[in-house]
Amino acid sequence: MSKIHVTTTVNGEPAEFLCEAQESLLDVLRDQLKLTGSKEGCGSGDCGACSITLDGRLVCSCLVLGVEAEGKTIGTVEGIANGDTLHPVQVKFLEHAALQCGFCTPGLLVATKALLDANPNPTETEARFWLAGNLCRCTGYDKIIRAVMDAAAEMRGEHA
């Protein structure tokens, strides 16, 4: 079976890979590009652990084919921080102890950043519904929601 050549952009850098037609983008990210921050919790789009952005849109990378990344822009958890400087959502997740095992955290961070990019001033209810596709079994979501609301306030400059 011949492989397909794909040219794309990952976390702002050009990237290319060869993949089989049926390979998911999640598998390509993890196995070929060695970006193992995106996790597979279900492989069926139900848990959100593999959340990435594709041309700015929040998607489950397990439901996207590798070939669909051609010409697109991919954002993963590895690209959220700016070099050594953590993004406010990362800082707030740490400060609020919004993670226990940390397995769902990459997907939640990608989803949270996408939320705040789209809606800088979400209500708690809006945050809860936006993140309803990201399962966390450890925290009961309390500290995650607090971290999200605090990160939103920080990014709006309300902590200055």
Partner: protein, 755 residues
Amino acid sequence: MNFVANKSDLKVVGTRPVRPDGIDKVTGKALFGADLTMAGTLVGKVVRSPHAHARIVSIDTSKAAALPGVKAIITTADFPEISSEVAAAGDGAVNFRHMAHNVMARDKVLYEGHAVAAVAAMSSAIADAAAALIEITYEVLPFVIDVEAAMADGAPILHDDLVPSGMANPGKPTNIAKRVEFKLGDAEAGLAEADVVVEGRYETTAVHQGYIEPHAVIASVNPDGQTQIFASSQGQFMIRQYVSKILNMDIANIRVTPAEIGGGFGGKTLVYLEPLAVALSRKAGKPVKMVMTRDEVFRASGPTSGGVMTVKIGAKKDGTITGATIDIALQAGAFPGSPVAPACMCAFACYDLKNVRASGYDVVSNRSKIAAYRAPGAPISAFGVESAMDELATKLGMDAIALREKNAAKAGTKAAYGPVFPEIGFEQVLAAAKSHPHWTAPLGKNQGRGLATGFWFNIGGDSSASVFINEDGTVSVVSGSPDIGGSRASMAMMAAEVLGVPYEKVRPIVGDTAQIGITGMTGGSRVTFATGMATVQAAEKVVDELKKRAAMIWDISPDAVDWKDGEAVPAGANAGGFDPMPLAAIAAKAGKTGGPIGTEVSINAQGAGAGFGAHICDVEVDPETGFVKVLRYTAVQDVGRAIHPSYVEGQIQGGAVQGIGWALNEEYLYDKKGRMDNSGFLDYRVPVASDLPMIEAVLVEVPNKRHPFGVRGVGEVPIVPPLAAVANAVKAATGVRMMSLPMSPPKILAAMDKA
């Protein structure tokens, strides 16, 4: 180290620093089981039974073996037969023969999803193709799923040789593996003295731990037998021991490195893939990686039991309980080992009762073998008992908290399961619940409030930790406990507290099986208590050594040196007029004063402190649909003393929400052929963010004086009360008593229509 009575004497314990593994986990760097790889790694896949119960007539692997790229195939023939041997492990006991037969079916498959063969190949696609080419002939047998059907005469029998313990041998094959009974006084006589008696039959379903990370392992076996295993689990030493037993290998030849673990909740306290990956690697001569799909996690890894129980409680008009009984039967899955004993032991542990009996049956059926799940068994019996307590309060016209206060267990109470409680915090927990504004807040239409309480033992056990002083005065801590919820932070905090150095100067890791002494699993709410105790003791020994080194430099007696705020100081005016010598200065001179400074401590920690909680839940029930919305939730718990309060709150919040899911949504559904019908997160619905309000965790601190910092253990108590707390709230909102879980909208609607 003596118990630190005054919290104000503590500088690090009780603060909320960022966890040491935090940045790895928010940047995607943390390596979980499926993230590790080795050069030349093969992909391993499992062939699983499509039948709930069948005899394996033949397995033909020839076509699969002939497929290019297939490097190894294993079946039952590749595993040694092992004798029945039961070993203590965490909260339960392990029968290695049963475990071996669960890992790879022998003559019969006992549930849909039971492993029958496994294959290792050059790629995932080739492994899948090979798995499809393995030809297995089955003789399909009648099956039984439900616990009462499995106990009935004429039920299909899973194990012809099963002889029940704790009861008379029935003299014929049975699915009952065990009967347990715990009693105090005369429960029947006590019930006869009561002015008011409530009785009910309650039912819960099997629910899965639902960790988001599927089981994952990579194993590599060398020709000389030396074996490396990287795996996500609740115990690297557990994996080492179980693989050694199942494959008959020397323990010293197995080195297990704990990967970061993506949730466990008890479900990663046993092996599924690890022995298969080792057997495949041994045969193929290459590393083998295996990762379960979510479907496999649901079908083949352990949920906890569902069960049925009858609860009877009698009381005087003033609320004094005179007698109580619970009779419970729990699903064990395909092999014996349901948590029926802890279910019985915990059932009435919140109360000071003179006459009580708890008895139960452990029953096998054609379901996947159950695994531990957070306070195994306790939430199940608490659902019955705490629902019955609510009924009793209603019948007596008493406040739910007042009834519990009247009968609360306290220091000196003899529990029905044996011990006399030392200082415990249940009364303080009830007082905190009563005075919380939530308890008296107004409610609206179709809304109701419920309260329920819960108990868990908490345990100690084998733990090892080492503390080493680095050349620059920083500190390395190694422990044997996989960190699921922030325990590296608490180990570093406890070491920093003893050493008197800043938290940031202490870097903790979880060691592999060759780097640290034997440590029991992360389970039973034991890590902060037991491994924390080992860490504290190691740090104390290091302090003693630091004092000796300072004494040597000062040329005075070690007894004349004190340790204060991370510095050696002369113990008094007679010791000499030396300036304080900081840890870093002593470390810098270690080479000249006797060599590197550090030590390891291995202990069997005793004196774990029992934990109690009380949860208040408000719900609104839609009278049109039966849908339950949780509006407000407050969880009060005696935590002993919180080392890192944020992670203590997190345990309580997470446990409460798992309990809410158990109460409202979650269940194993089977089709007519005994196959699981909802093996994905779409149909097995765990709570999501939009289902929930904030979960307020209220920490009550009644220190456990047998731990230097007062730790009790917190992880398990919070899943015990929610099932009944939600049910009691539903009763208050609708007038309907839900006797079975989950309280799904159709069931609530049907119950309301009937009422």
